[in-house]
Symmetry: C2
Subunit: 568 residues, 2 copies
């Protein structure tokens, strides 16, 4: 905000301003807003002078809540999450089993003001990994520039995807404490690590390196360690850092994760359960279904292919020579034409043809779901209940992006019968702890009729009853409702897939409940038999003067006959 040198509406007792700031911005004509009366109404010419470009860093500094920095406790969690997500992505891409340390250190500030100390504490967030490290030339941009990264311009499943997260954490730290982010990275095992202290120039969205040096000591062969000082609040509970790390460990059993809480002497360790990395997801091309006509026109114009058919095969997923030929035929287009010569009407026809021709579902090897078994095991580990089930759906596609939905369900005591169901949400293995109400997963859950399973369900709400649900979406591009990646946008296709996954879980729950009811019914009948049979046998014995063995035999025959009739 500082750099704006805004005209100010002067008020009484504030008339000391000098003309310097105004003079510097010479393009702007003097506005009359500073007089005491009504502000001056402007003409188009005057308005033109107030128009300016906005840097992305300025935008997000002012809109920090879009990135998850609405309040101190959420800010702390968000910064940790961005760093851990990046560490996990880097390790997996480099084929390294992740070993990550998260440490939170409370920083004492000589606070004279009660207000400042009341609203938030100050923390140093340290996240260290054994990943591949970052080459020297990239460090400043990765941490000191918003909208910079490797994950945006590709279709590949990863935790981060926007090129904002970690630089935004650095920006938030800088805004709330004035301190630079410190990055120590060691990309080569036999060379020293390099350390940077850097800030973001918000006016230009460019990094400014304050200090740069080599350091010898580093805890891993290669890796990265970041330190951010920021205003935050350390909380427990369902939205705290511990819970986030706990759920991260659940969805990533191949990770060794240590966490040193601000008050702890020793780090808590979430141990590695699986000693193998998950299947490395593959990068893919967009799928023909769901791409926009505007995007297609742009792709055609920028294509290097010589023929439209080649263009279709090269730039799209699942388009074989035969399919490409079908498409151009359907569009009444010459397949040998250069893509750059395709006219707008032809492009529109091609667009429609691409949607009309049957194309295989996108390849599945670009997605790495957690898997039904691991999901159910995770649920069993996390939630004590009576019945568990899980499902991994086949991949589907929204707007050309493959995605895959998984769901798990736990039901029955000791889960409390009178509380709202707990919903665990994951996107690309990252737990989502905030904005549950805005999430497609929540919407899918509330859209189902849980009353069918003896659960109480207030209108448009989560069911109440002994139920825990887990939903995971894996995609090459998860559409989050905000840059803070806290909730998944309810695209129709995604909503539908989540519903189908939950419905299948629900169907199995229904079977379980009905089976249980049959068992109960059967048990009730058995109880009747057990209760009434002895007196009947005794009465028969007395009536017919049977011997003890005879009585026993009669009782046995009666018992088996009744039990048979019960089960029919």
């Amino acid at each position: 905000m500082a750099a704006r040198k805004k005209k100010k509406a002067s008020r009484k007792g504030q008339g000391t301003r000098k003309g310097k700031a105004a003079a510097k911005r010479k393009a702007a004509p003097k506005r009359k807003a500073s007089r005491k009366g009504t502000p001056k109404r402007l003409t188009a010419q005057e308005m033109a002078h107030t128009q300016r470009e906005i840097s992305v860093a300025e935008f997000f500094a002012k809109n920090r809540h879009l990135l998850g920095y609405d309040n101190p406790s959420k800010a702390l969690l968000t910064a940790v999450r961005e760093a851990v997500d990046n560490a996990l992505d880097a390790c997996e891409e480099a084929g390294i089993l992740p070993d990550i340390l998260v440490a939170l250190e409370q920083v004492k500030v000589g606070s004279t003001s009660e207000k400042a100390s009341r609203t938030a504490d100050r923390f140093r967030v340290v996240v260290e990994d054994n990943g591949p490290g970052i080459v020297k030339s990239q460090v400043s941009k990765i941490f000191g520039k918003l909208l910079y990264g490797s994950k945006f311009h590709r279709l590949r499943m990863s935790r981060g995807q926007q090129g904002i997260g970690i630089s935004a954490a650095a920006l938030y730290g800088q805004l709330t404490t004035g301190k630079p982010i410190r990055v120590t990275s060691k990309p080569r095992p036999r060379k020293p690590a390099h350390r940077f202290d850097l800030v973001i120039d918000t006016r230009t969205n460019n990094p400014r390196v304050l200090r740069e040096r080599e350091v010898r000591e580093f805890n891993h062969k290669t890796g990265t360690r970041i330190e951010i000082e920021l205003e935050g609040r350390y909380v427990g509970g369902q939205r705290g850092v511990f819970e986030y790390l706990h759920q991260t460990a659940l969805a990533n059993p191949h990770v060794r994760l240590r966490f040193k809480a601000p008050d702890a002497k020793e780090p808590h360790e979430f141990v590695r359960v699986v000693a193998a990395l998950p299947e490395q997801p593959r990068e893919i091309q967009p799928h023909p279904y769901g791409i926009d006509v505007g995007t297609l026109i742009k792709m055609l114009g920028a294509s290097e292919a010589r023929r439209v058919t080649a263009f279709l095969q090269q730039e799209f997923s699942r388009v074989s020579g035969r399919v490409a030929k079908q498409m151009v035929e359907e569009a009444a287009l010459n397949g040998a034409k250069s893509p750059r010569r395709v006219s707008r009407p032809e492009a529109e026809r091609l667009y429609e043809a691409m949607n009309a021709v049957r194309v295989m579902a996108p390849p599945t090897d670009c997605l790495a779901p957690i898997g039904e078994q691991a999901l159910e095991e995770g649920m069993r580990k996390e939630v004590e209940a009576e019945f568990y089930t899980s499902i991994t759906r086949a991949p589907a596609v929204y707007r050309g992006n493959p995605f895959q939905v998984e769901a798990a369900l736990a039901y029955g005591p000791p889960l409390p019968a009178d509380a709202s169901a707990r919903l665990y949400r994951f996107a690309n293995r990252v737990p989502l702890l905030y904005q549950q109400g805005a999430c497609a997963m929540t919407k899918a859950v509330t859209s189902l009729a849980w009353r069918n399973y003896d659960l109480n369900q207030p209108r448009r709400s989560l069911p109440a009853g002994p139920l825990a649900l887990l939903v995971h979406i894996a995609s090459v591009w998860v559409p989050f409702t905000s840059e803070s990646m806290e909730a998944v946008a309810a695209y129709d296709e995604i909503h539908k897939e989540i519903r189908l996954a939950l419905q299948e879980c629900g169907r199995r729950l229904g079977q379980h409940i009905r089976k249980k009811q049959r068992h109960l019914e059967a048990k009730r009948k058995t109880d009747y038999i057990t209760t009434y049979l002895p007196p009947i046998a005794e009465a028969l014995r007395d009536l017919l003067a049977l011997s003890e063995p005879q009585t026993k035999k009669v009782a046995k025959v009666l018992d088996s006959t009744l039990r048979r009739s019960r089960s029919s």
Copy 2:
């Protein structure tokens, strides 16, 4: 997406790709991801080559749901809203009573594919105003560049604030139909209008003008007319264009608004109710409370003031000479020091001192609330009920930004007793129709105990009962939860103010309900008297052999005695 020229993971039957595209991006080393096996694990050096800058236009093209373009019906509404918001802002800033026409024309596409026609229709959105117009040199940037505008770099209440809205609508149209936005603007009454057809180059986030010319015919002396062709769906109901315009007219009684629906022959007119513009809100400086230490450090470094005291007075709202002196004293700082020479520890002390010293609440003339009376009238016009109340709170401040909350409430039949309460949400006079669940207003409503007013309230939900609520937040900077401006972020201060406003309405509702209950109780007693008095009088007559006049007199005395005792 087209321009990315991404490496592709080749699959069987797709081996025809040429090396050209790959050759062009020579910086990137050949990755081995195209072999059939597992994708290659990367080193830090290889990863460095995949790092790239992301343009804001690319970012929002891929994340269009952040801007409100998740689905066709919402997209249509969002585009209309951005254009109308801009038109209203421009008119008011220029001191012109707004006269706005919104027309939706369905565009026929020669659709051969069932899929395309099933998912969405194509519309031409036309929005025309009598505002000040836009000078020629600014048109292409305002409509063809994201993050460009006059409203971001100032603290002033306006509908738009980010410099994204209208260019994002153009971008969405371009992506879904391939068509440019057409802008016709007439900034000078006696000169012809200029017309632009332009598209956004997403790779660079810059406008590309396809065609530019002068036009003679224009419906107003000055003004702007935009035409966007886009994929959308026209729906009615609580989230449709009509409802948005209807609520806009309610909150802006000074606007003449005409709407031509796609199927209508004549436009529907929302007539102008008030022939005067609302008070023009003033632009202000940030308030000392709530500013970040990082921002303060930046402001100090960029200041042109000679002394810290002058800096404080010039750059902040409500800082008089006396207050500035108090601040530097509290911070043990020499007030005559140059702001640019203030050290980091000194800045931190100053930051705390700024928060510790008592500063007047921000000026109120930067905000233009709707007003208690207009709010209640709006409610009465919109909702038929029994009891109405409204309140406009005094301005408060969050993160240095003044804001003001208003609330209104309608209660009682004929509002249905068994449905969820209806909540009308407004921010800077703009109706918010989406993301109710994610909004601070909703959270404030659900956090209150409506059971106190005989309303049923499922946990964490809106109350159910004969209730309609309206909340309006006016601010120089409304913190929306996403760029699509659909829900307000729940900053503590904002949450608290909304709660207080609603509580006051609730308190009045409580009084009304208690009064009504007393009336009912009284009526019940009266009914008893009316029921039982005649037989008693008759019994007395028979018993004491009274004459008819005597009986009447006795009855009258009894009646008045009983009624008196009733009211005690």
